[in-house]
Amino acid sequence: MIVKLIDFFRDRLPLVIRLSYVGLTLLVVWDVFFVSKEHAHTAVEHIPGFWAGFGFVACVLIIIVSKWYGHLGIMTREDYYDK
């Protein structure tokens, strides 16, 4: 059953992707117009869609900085310690 469900979505991948974008947009719209910001801890959190931007930038930063660091020589061949 699980496999069938996954295959169902995989067969309609372009649609799933489009729906995901719609979902992301709706989430930001909900945040900007309907969510009360009284629980916000800092002033920057009042910027519309702040956490959406934060999440995206965080993800991109983590990937790029880590890969840059790894390719400085930290990532090495698997038998490095065996020689």
């Binding site: 699980i2 496999v3 996954i6 979902g23 992301l24 989430l27 930001v28 909900w30 945040d31 309907f34 969510v35 009360s36 910001k37 009284e38 629980h39 916000a40 801890h41 800092t42 959190e45 869609g49 956490w51 959406a52 931007g53 934060f54 999440g55 995206f56 965080a58 993800c59 991109v60 930063l61 983590i62 990937i63 790029i64 900085v65 880590s66 890969k67 660091y69 790894g70 020589g73 930290i74 990532m75 090495t76 061949r77 698997e78 490095y80 310690y81």
Partner: protein, 598 residues
């Protein structure tokens, strides 16, 4: 000798462990479930009965084995629960000593949790290290032995720091070794030494490299135990003694980010999860450093949730390793058709660790971050939030994607072997998955157990703002993941970490021993041969003549009996050092149990 009728759950596991090898085969499986369940029930029976139990006078010290309060109870509850889950997951393992090692390891953890003084703490602290190393050695790959020794050496070093701290503290306090708030306002050398001992077990950089090294190499079910007990017992010890120590906040934040960076680079699924333990324990260490009631609640809640979801993730990736023999992303992929149940369970673990609403991380991690905002430590709170984007990126997305979807890198053999794991492994995962969802969906279950239940009752994670914040961070992280997925494609590499220093340092020491020291040694031997050996041999020949003709007759009878006993003892000696250590540790444990409880 016990001042009250109080049964230590560690004792149940220790006695249970020593009986196990003598049971008939048909009885073993039910027994494996019953013993940890009894330990769990004994913890349950202590609820509401806070106090000090199991006090034993030893020399001029009072050894306290049973301090029962809300802090020790929440940890003991989850540790014994995890012991049941882990044992069920490993029910198919036929080698008794794997179960024995795992139970002794859990007993060590429970001993630390309930102890009231540093002597008892040290005793159980070392039991944990010596029992858990067998969970690495039992993997029985050529490299397992080396990894185990490294693990043991690092933990011995940490244990020595702890011991040195104890001795200094004993001197400074005039003999008071009670284990409680250590006085973080006026730290001395002993405070820092004890802190180093704790930080090493909590895998705080720079003392962290043992963790991915050992957990990536442990047996499939051994890793499930290891990922739960060592670091979280250290978190308990930190929460008990070092609450409010400010240096722990930056250390915790560094840990949270460090683990995330290395997780990006990692190609082995279990080592990736191990790096994420460092990241997640970072939240707890930071929580201890913040030290407010909300932060300590958050630390306990997160440790509780973490033990379950990390156990679940290690069970999920472990079942892939168990079935296919592979754990590297560059040798897996596209397995959802072959292992759908393992995928679903791992995904539940991934969503829990990522703090998705309705899953356990959502109600625990947020407490720590909120406590950071509450004390206006904004940079810590924002950086911890950034790390949580990294958590979802790896554990929620990278692990499931590159094992069950993505490019199929499986060899034909791997593909043929892949299938959902045996029923007991699925049952273990099922229980952990159920609890992950229960904790996330019904907050009173966990919140009522926390050390400050009133504070916890006043904390509401399910506000519209928190929901919106979390969903935005996570879903936009997912967007970033899918846009940059090519950059994350698995690379068959290893990442150099700080263990480089002792791994290559050890090699330098070996060279030193083999070349200059051995050369000096042979010079001394040669000199000795000419100056000492030749006259000595002449003497010896005379004594040999005397011995042959005079004494042998008397001694012969005696020698025969000694040889008989010697050959008996020889049969127990396999010549492998790890077995000798195992026998010795077991013997010491039995002697201790007899001494303490007889």
């Amino acid at each position: 000798m016990i001042n009250d009728l109080w049964l230590h759950p560690a004792l149940i596991l220790i006695v249970g462990a020593f009986i196990l090898p003598f049971l008939p085969q048909w009885l073993k499986r039910p027994y494996l479930v019953i013993v940890p369940t009894l330990a769990f029930l004994s913890v349950l029976s202590m609820q509401g009965q806070h106090g000090t139990f199991g006090v034993i006078s030893f020399l001029d010290q009072n050894l306290i084995f049973g301090r029962v309060d809300s802090l020790s109870m929440v940890f003991a509850y989850i540790m014994t629960l995890m012991c049941i889950i882990g044992t069920i997951y490993g029910l198919h393992v036929e080698e008794d000593f794997q179960h024995v090692a795992a139970w002794l390891y859990v007993a060590g953890s429970l001993g630390v949790i309930f102890c009231g003084d540093y002597l008892v703490l040290f005793l159980f602290w070392e039991l944990m290290a010596f029992a858990s190393v067998f969970l690495v050695w039992f993997r029985r790959r050529p490299e397992s032995l080396a990894v185990g020794y490294r693990y043991l050496l690092v933990h011995t070093a940490g244990g020595l720091a702890l011991l040195a701290g104890l001795v200094l503290r004993y001197q400074a306090t005039g003999g008071d070794l009670s284990f409680g708030p250590i006085g973080v306002g006026s730290p001395s050398l002993s405070t820092y030494l004890i802190l180093i001992g704790f930080l090493l077990n909590a895998a705080v950089p720079p003392f962290h490299a043992w963790l991915p090294d050992a957990y990536g190499e442990a047996t499939v079910s051994g890793a499930v135990f290891m990922c739960a007990f060592t670091t979280k017992t250290a978190v308990y010890a930190l929460a008990r003694a070092f609450a409010g120590m400010e240096i722990l906040v930056p250390l915790g934040v560094c840990m949270a980010l460090y683990g995330v960076v290395y997780a990006v680079l990692e190609n082995d699924a279990r080592r990736l999860l191990a790096y994420h333990i460092i990241s997640q324990v970072g939240y707890m260490v930071a929580g201890v450093g913040i030290g407010t009631e909300l932060a300590i609640n958050g630390t306990c809640a997160h440790a509780f949730a973490h033990i379950l979801y990390k156990g679940l993730l290690f069970m999920g990736c472990g079942s892939v390793l168990h079935m296919t023999g592979k754990s590297k992303f560059s040798e897996l992929g596209g397995l959802y058709k072959k292992m759908p149940m393992a995928f679903v369970f791992t995904m539940i673990g991934g969503l829990s660790i990522s703090a998705f609403p309705l899953f356990s991380g959502f109600v625990s991690k947020a407490m720590i971050v909120a406590s950071g905002f509450e004390v206006h430590n904004y940079w810590a709170a924002f950086l911890l939030t950034l790390a949580s984007a990294g958590t979802f990126l790896h554990t929620g997305l990278k692990v499931p994607y590159f094992i069950w979807f993505g490019k199929n890198n499986c060899s034909q053999e791997t593909w043929d072997k892949a299938a959902d794991p045996p029923w007991n492994m699925q049952l273990g995962m099922g229980i952990a998955a159920f609890l992950c969802i229960l904790i996330g969906s019904y907050t009173p279950y966990l919140y009522q157990m926390l050390p400050y239940p009133q504070v916890a009752a006043g904390y509401h994670p399910y506000t519209a703002y928190h929901l919106s914040e979390t969903l935005q961070i996570l879903l936009f992280t997912a967007l970033g993941f899918f846009l940059l997925i090519k950059k994350l494609a698995p690379e068959p590499t290893i990442s150099i970490d700080l263990d480089w220093f002792y791994r290559l340092g050890g090699r330098g020491f070996l060279w030193l021993a083999q070349k200059p020291i051995q050369w000096a040694d042979s010079c001394v031997s040669e000199g000795y041969r000419y100056v000492g050996l030749i006259p000595l041999m002449t003497m010896a020949r005379f004594w040999s003549w005397f011995d042959w003709h005079a004494i042998d007759g008397v001694v012969d009878g005696l020698a025969k009996s000694v040889r008989g006993i010697g050959s008996l003892a020889r049969r127990t000696q396999s010549g492998k050092l790890q077995y000798n250590i195992f026998y010795t540790v077991s013997l010491v444990a039995v002697a201790l149990v007899l001494y303490v409880f007889a």
